[in-house]
Symmetry: C2
Amino acid sequence: MKVVELSGGVGGARLARGLAKIQEVDLTLIVNVGDDEMIHGLRVSPDLDTVVYTLAGVEGPEGWGRHGDTFTANDELGRLGLDNRFRLGDLDLALNVYRSARLAAGETLSQVTDTVRRRFELVPLVLPATDDVIRTEVKSASGDWLSFQEYFVHRQHRDEVVEIRFLGAAESRPAPGAVGHIEEADVVVIAPSNPPLSIWPILAVPGIKEAVADHPRVTAISPLFGGRALKGPADRILASLGLPAGNQGVAKAYAGVADNLVIDTGDAADAALIHGLGVLVEDTLIKDLAASARLARAILGL
Amino acid sequence: MKVVELSGGVGGARLARGLAKIQEVDLTLIVNVGDDEMIHGLRVSPDLDTVVYTLAGVEGPEGWGRHGDTFTANDELGRLGLDNRFRLGDLDLALNVYRSARLAAGETLSQVTDTVRRRFELVPLVLPATDDVIRTEVKSASGDWLSFQEYFVHRQHRDEVVEIRFLGAAESRPAPGAVGHIEEADVVVIAPSNPPLSIWPILAVPGIKEAVADHPRVTAISPLFGGRALKGPADRILASLGLPAGNQGVAKAYAGVADNLVIDTGDAADAALIHGLGVLVEDTLIKDLAASARLARAILGL
């Protein structure tokens, strides 16, 4: 069974681990790069790395970075006067140095990511949404446009977001193979990631949204529980962008794109409020690998 | 007393520490950058960093890198498939990331180095010989031109060197202030570094050699003991380039540039063989900071 998962960072990575455990699944991840940034002159791709680390089982305790990583270089960068609030561990820094070196040598982000995937001995394919540069920016209520990392890491997503844009997206091209994998997939899964911040920048790449919209079986997983995101600002952003509260807002965020929405058992009552999409009610809390695999099987109808 | 020291890496850095300890000395270092290289896309400046680390008292046990550094990122870079034989510790990597980021942002190597010097709270000025890129290359007996790091680190200076060149030197300009500091110095000291590999690339920058040659009091310290370098290939290179053995070869390497040569007490007999240069006989073994300060005072006639 060919499965494509559109994924942001932590939530998407955790679902991917479950999908990857199912023997009959041939998995391809298409990952958000709108959060990518140049940090200390290095190309940082947080969502790609979270997906790779999580699939390899070496992710950090909060879902990003590496398990047991040290911050020797990061502390020293601060001492040298650089803004080191985006904390890169020593192992994580090595991957960012590696990616930057290979990009500077002329490789594409897809090529570098595929080499990294193989170094971590991963079976699923991991594709960036695009090899071009996309920058997610959010407009705060004060009218300022903020880069994603400024908003998310430095200001800890406290600002009210009234608008989102994806700089460079209109001129970007899908990573090689991305559209083909979507077209050939038996199921396209939209991860329980933040819809506007993590999934929209993937869909903003011309060709990807069309391929997903044309696909007959696209199943999105809501990131909300009782109307709230487990962590991160998904619920607040949906509201401040003028979308309905709760799972109705998630359904609206994926209007014309998703065919089915998976909501948590605790929110079963929302099913009656959602129109135009099939609704599946499942335990969507991915508290461990077993829960991820169980949810993955349910999504795929296995 | 204004003192300029032309310096390579370890030997020059150890002498600099002694010079810096003398209260009446106002020290400026002009440091070799011919060994600089791009490693993993980062600008690595081994001699500049060795000088800064040693002056700060945080150098590694063999004179390069940082004391107590870890190699977490370096090991990971190897696992990712990069050639990591040039071992960068995590603290050391941070400085290289910092330098590369500042250079990419448009700062000159002089500016970056001066900021680093201040972060390490060093009093002596530390100048690269030039802000331009110079590449020391050696020709092996087999006829191949090797980059400095290829020759020195990867092939562990086993090749016989029949020729040396400094790519880019002819078009380079001295770092801002370098020539002025030489002209205003009371004494110019040439460190006990490898003459062809560490000092010649400094002198190859147009304007520096002339300023040093015109200076009335230039004192070079021989790196040889009983005709041999303590470590490194200085003696073999002098021989393979056709210079006389022992301190006569060092004197020849600095002909027209140095006014005095300091040789080790064990080699006092060499004094009679050296012509055209004043010879000082001193204990030149820098085994600790006290030895460095004592030698420094002797060189300056204090």
